[in-house]
């Protein structure tokens, strides 16, 4: 069996007792489950799905660079286009369809009011470089959302422009680096717990820091003693996720912050899990210097199959002077966008610009809509229900699945299980694929790395008790099959649009674009 280093199998295993594989139809279709070819196979270069007015005759001003060769882009008519993408959509799992307990990713319901508001022409059809007098409403949205974020986190200021969580991490670390440089303090190391998201060490390395691991205690939290022992004049920052990726609150964060500050460093908090504590805990009260907020997690903007996100970063007073451009200020005359032109007077210490224009406006309108819908009382209820749901799952399944930190106390918004106790040859991946057949999206698997065969279940607050109970029944059954060594589970999923896919083949001979079959044949000769 081919495996990644964290133990996840990457090749399917053929099984003799595979009865569900017989394909009864000539088309490959299974009633409502329809196969769909690629646009390159069904489209043509003459077909188009748009009617474009004829171009007036003019003398070309293209500088002699007219395109000489076809691009080879297939077109489809509108009915064919709608059908192509509708069919493809049905091969996807989404929150709208069912329970999606992907740990650390916070797949909560995406309210449709958010979508409606983001599409108001006053937000959707305005250009980022319009004169400021013509976009006062848009600047007000940014400012209002910024005020909410600062208040909810108890921090000093917020940089709104980062495009996603990892971009927010970059923003935070750049501000830390700028602050250190401003005091002539060259530090080279960033400490990151073993349980951190992969983006944390990648970000620290991306802005030129050496990364060192901080070990975890047996109960799944940062090892305070080890951390304190490592602090020194070379440590620029500590990156901590709170609640952490084991689903536990870092009880010692305040003590950690004090120690880091005493050693001259800064505390970066990965706010991916802010949804567990919003309205109940303010990171500003824990000594955090910078924290990104994933608007696509805590504040319900849709994940869209991988993005876009939005990762505003809240800052302590110490880091605020270094925050990136641009940002919005409210003055007596209205809202003002502070860009390069006026930064000299208003924001001379800024480390600069991270992105063209002003950030993810479409996500800001959605997040503000969501935040206003919930209000201060609703947001507190959000975190309480998220934590309640996760603990309900933890306690309902710990008898069939190993819960390594169950004795460490209640979990926060996500429950962590391991593969301990499964029959020989059975892995976390089998549980995930078994859940697919039962109609659920699997939990996050093989993360965090501190637990073998990790399964991280994050139900979110937008699941009701009935949905949780159905999931518990399904996962209990799949777990029992894995524990008992039910060989049929190794072949799952049987009922998804595809069986297990061969990742090893994909990586060994990467086929990343479509090539005409004739070209493939020629190349093989």
């Amino acid at each position: 069996m081919t495996m990644l280093k964290e133990g996840r199998p990457t090749r399917p295993v053929a099984l003799a007792q595979d009865k569900a594989t017989a394909n009864p139809t000539i088309t490959g279709n299974k009633a409502l489950m329809l196969e769909e070819a690629l646009i390159f196979e069904i489209g043509s270069h003459e077909t188009t799905g748009v009617d474009i007015a004829p171009a007036p005759q003019v003398k070309s001003r293209l500088g002699g660079l007219e395109r000489r060769k076809p691009i080879a882009l297939p077109g489809l008519s509108e009915p064919e286009t709608v059908r192509h993408y509708t069919r493809l959509s049905r091969q996807n799992y989404g929150i709208d369809l069912g329970f999606f307990p992907l740990g650390s990713c916070t797949m909560k319901h995406n309210p449709r009011l958010n979508e409606k508001m983001a599409r108001l022409p006053g937000f959707a059809d305005i250009h980022p470089l319009q004169p400021q007098s013509t976009v006062q409403g848009a600047l007000a949205v940014i400012h209002e959302l910024a005020e909410w974020l600062v208040t909810l986190t108890g921090m000093h200021s917020v940089a709104m422009s980062p495009k996603a969580g990892a971009h927010g991490e970059l923003c935070g670390l750049l501000a830390i680096r700028a602050a250190l440089e401003a005091r002539g303090d060259a530090r080279s190391v960033v400490l990151v717990p073993e349980s951190a998201h992969g983006t944390n060490p990648a970000t620290a390395a991306f802005c030129g820091y050496a990364v060192e691991d901080i070990p975890a205690t047996p109960e799944g939290r940062v090892d305070l003693a080890a951390l304190k022992a490592r602090l020194g004049p070379d440590v620029a920052a500590v990156m901590i996720t709170n609640p952490n990726t084991c689903g536990l609150f870092e009880r010692d964060l305040r003590t950690i912050s004090e120690a880091v500050h005493a050693a001259g460093g800064f505390v970066y908090c990965d706010g991916a899990n802010f949804n567990a504590i919003v309205g109940r805990v303010r990171p500003g009260d824990l000594g955090v210097d910078a924290m990104h907020i994933n608007l696509h997690k805590t504040f319900s903007t849709p994940h869209g199959g991988g993005g876009p996100g939005s990762g505003p970063v809240v800052f302590s007073e110490a880091l605020s002077p270094y925050a990136p451009l641009p940002f919005v200020e409210k003055t007596a005359d209205g809202h003002v966008l502070i860009e390069e032109e006026t930064a000299g007077e208003h924001h001379a210490g800024s480390f600069g610009r991270m992105v063209a224009f002003h950030g993810q406006m479409g996500m800001f309108t959605r997040a503000l809509t969501y935040i206003m819908s919930h209000g201060a009382d609703g947001l507190r209820q959000v975190s309480e229900d998220a934590v309640l749901n996760a603990n309900y799952i933890l306690r309902s399944l710990e008898d069939v699945l190993d819960a390594p930190f169950a004795a460490s106390g209640p979990c926060m918004h996500e429950a962590l299980f391991s593969d301990k106790g499964m029959a020989e040859g059975f892995t976390t991946l089998d549980i995930a694929k078994g859940l697919i057949d039962e109609g659920f999206h699997p939990m996050t698997v093989y993360f965090p790395l501190v637990v073998h065969g990790a399964m991280l279940v994050e139900p979110t607050e937008t699941e009701g008790k009935a949905a949780l109970d159905q999931f518990i029944v399904a996962l209990r059954s799949v777990a029992q099959r894995a524990n008992a060594g039910d060989a049929a589970l190794k072949g799952a999923p049987y009922f998804a649009p595809r069986r297990r896919l061969d990742e090893t083949l994909a990586a060994r001979k990467p086929v990343l674009v479509w090539t005409e079959p004739e070209a493939v044949a020629e190349a093989a000769e």
Binding site: I39, F40, Q91, L97, G122, G137, G198, V355, L394
Partner: protein
């Protein structure tokens, strides 16, 4: 609270199962001094759909909508007509509310779209391969510079003066921390792009040359000689395309020898949205694929031998490689890539060619009409759908004065290059298929008044 399904009865039943008295017991690990006893002061409570809609509607109405007025802004974000079916399809819940396709058996929809998207982008740019998207054009541009550093093991990047100044700013921000050396000056008032200057500047320390095509002033230059010189010196050519519709009319950078082509995909399918979310496009030659940032979707087979798609070559990425990854990017612009791909599928070769021809023809008409306005000179000798006009006064003031007349007349170079006094009379004017003859007449009339 309409988004929360649990009832109080549910909550107490669940607390019972868990074996605690109250919700507070579940927060026992949070130190008491860090807990808020009640909801945060000074913030409003929950609100009905109607109330929220009223508030947001009021803010939306304070903005001047591009579609309501004669509109000529570009400079990295373009207003094109997006077919109705695009927005309908991207709002299907299976696309909108899906996550990154980590479980490929139930994400073939997203994955096949990404495979099609990668192929469309690679072909459009004239490259071998493309990734599954970046945040936007500006961040894709920086990632390309970093990739060139890894490939050439050199740290000096030459940035064309015609590169979007925001893209330059992003690169400068990052280079300050990575130690890359960036060579850049603001553009000169010149009818031609700065290709010869770049050719002359390439030396043995150069990792890459970054050139925008068409450039920030709308000028188009042949990149072939630049590519040849870069390659002879062991450097890479990075081309930046902020208006992909142009490639329906002009030769793609890959065909002129560019090694990496990045761009902003917003103008196809995504819309203006006040600057985001947008869509970073990233393509390159096959031989550099393992140094690419971001996600890649690849073809494979399932256990029954059926064709399927998976995320692949993930050993480049942060969730596997952590601090050794090619980039820290995780979330990208998946839904915008879907919108781009649907719009591009609707267009097809024919539609894109016709759209580009219409954009260019309208722009030529607008340029000719504007040149006839006293006090207006056209800078460009070549352009696609965007060009620069030179005025005898500060174009920032002119743009504001036009806005007071309900005309969004262009992007002033003073806004883009606040430190370059010699550019202050420049106004970048973009013209697309959405621009009417009446719009052009209104801009000319408005300029006559303002310049008089």
């Amino acid at each position: 609270m309409r988004y929360l399904p649990l009832t109080d009865t549910d909550r107490s039943a669940m607390l019972n199962v868990i074996g605690v008295q109250s919700i507070d017991d579940l927060f026992m690990d949070v130190p008491v001094e860090a807990q808020l006893a009640t909801k945060i002061d000074g913030l409003p409570d929950h609100a009905s759909e109607l109330a929220v809609e009223r508030h947001m509607g009021k803010l939306a109405r304070k903005n001047m909508v591009a579609g309501d007025v004669p509109f000529f802004l570009g400079a990295g974000a373009y207003r094109h007509h997006v077919p109705a079916s695009v927005d309908h399809l991207i709002q299907r819940g299976e696309f909108l509310t899906a996550y990154t396709p980590y479980q490929p058996e139930i994400a073939q929809g997203t994955l096949q779209v990404l495979f099609e998207f990668q192929t469309q982008v690679a072909r459009l740019f004239g490259c071998d391969v493309a990734n599954a998207s970046m945040y936007d054009g500006s961040t894709a541009c920086w990632e390309a510079i970093g990739m060139a550093r890894r490939i050439t093991r050199r740290g000096k990047a030459l940035l064309s003066s015609g590169l979007h100044p925001h893209y330059v700013s992003v690169a400068r921000t990052m280079a300050r921390f990575t130690g890359d050396q960036l060579v850049y000056t603001t553009p000169r008032v010149d009818a031609e792009p700065d290709i010869q200057t770049l050719i002359d500047a390439i030396d043995g320390d150069t990792s890459c040359v970054v050139v925008q095509y068409p450039d920030i002033l709308g000028r188009i230059g042949d990149l072939s000689a630049l590519a040849a010189k870069a390659h002879a010196a062991g450097a890479l050519l990075i081309a930046v395309v902020t208006e992909p519709v142009a490639l329906g009319a002009i030769t793609p950078p890959g065909d002129m020898g560019a090694d990496i082509v990045v761009g902003e995909g917003q103008s196809i399918g995504v819309g203006l949205q006040f600057g985001g979310p947008y869509l970073g496009l990233f393509a390159c030659k096959q031989k550099y694929v393992r140094q690419m940032p971001g996600r890649l979707c690849g073809e494979t087979v399932d256990a029954e031998g059926k064709r399927g798609f998976v995320l692949t070559l993930s050993t480049r990425e942060q969730h596997i490689r952590r601090e050794k990854a090619t980039s820290n990017i995780c979330t990208n612009s998946g839904l915008c890539a879907l919108a781009f791909s649907i719009h591009m599928t609707l267009l097809g070769e024919r539609g894109l060619t016709d759209l580009a021809a219409l954009n260019h023809a309208r722009a030529v008409q607008a340029a000719e009409a504007l040149e006839a306005v006293p006090g207006v000179r056209l800078l460009n000798s070549s352009f696609f759908n965007e060009f620069t006009i030179l005025l005898d006064q500060d174009a920032r003031e002119v743009a504001r004065a036009l806005a007071d007349r309900d005309i969004l007349g262009g992007v002033s170079l003073g806004r883009l290059f606040p430190d370059a006094a010699e550019l202050s009379g420049g106004l970048v004017v973009a013209v697309t298929e959405t621009t009417t003859e009446d719009d052009i007449a209104a801009l000319c009339g408005g300029l006559k008044e303002v310049l008089a």
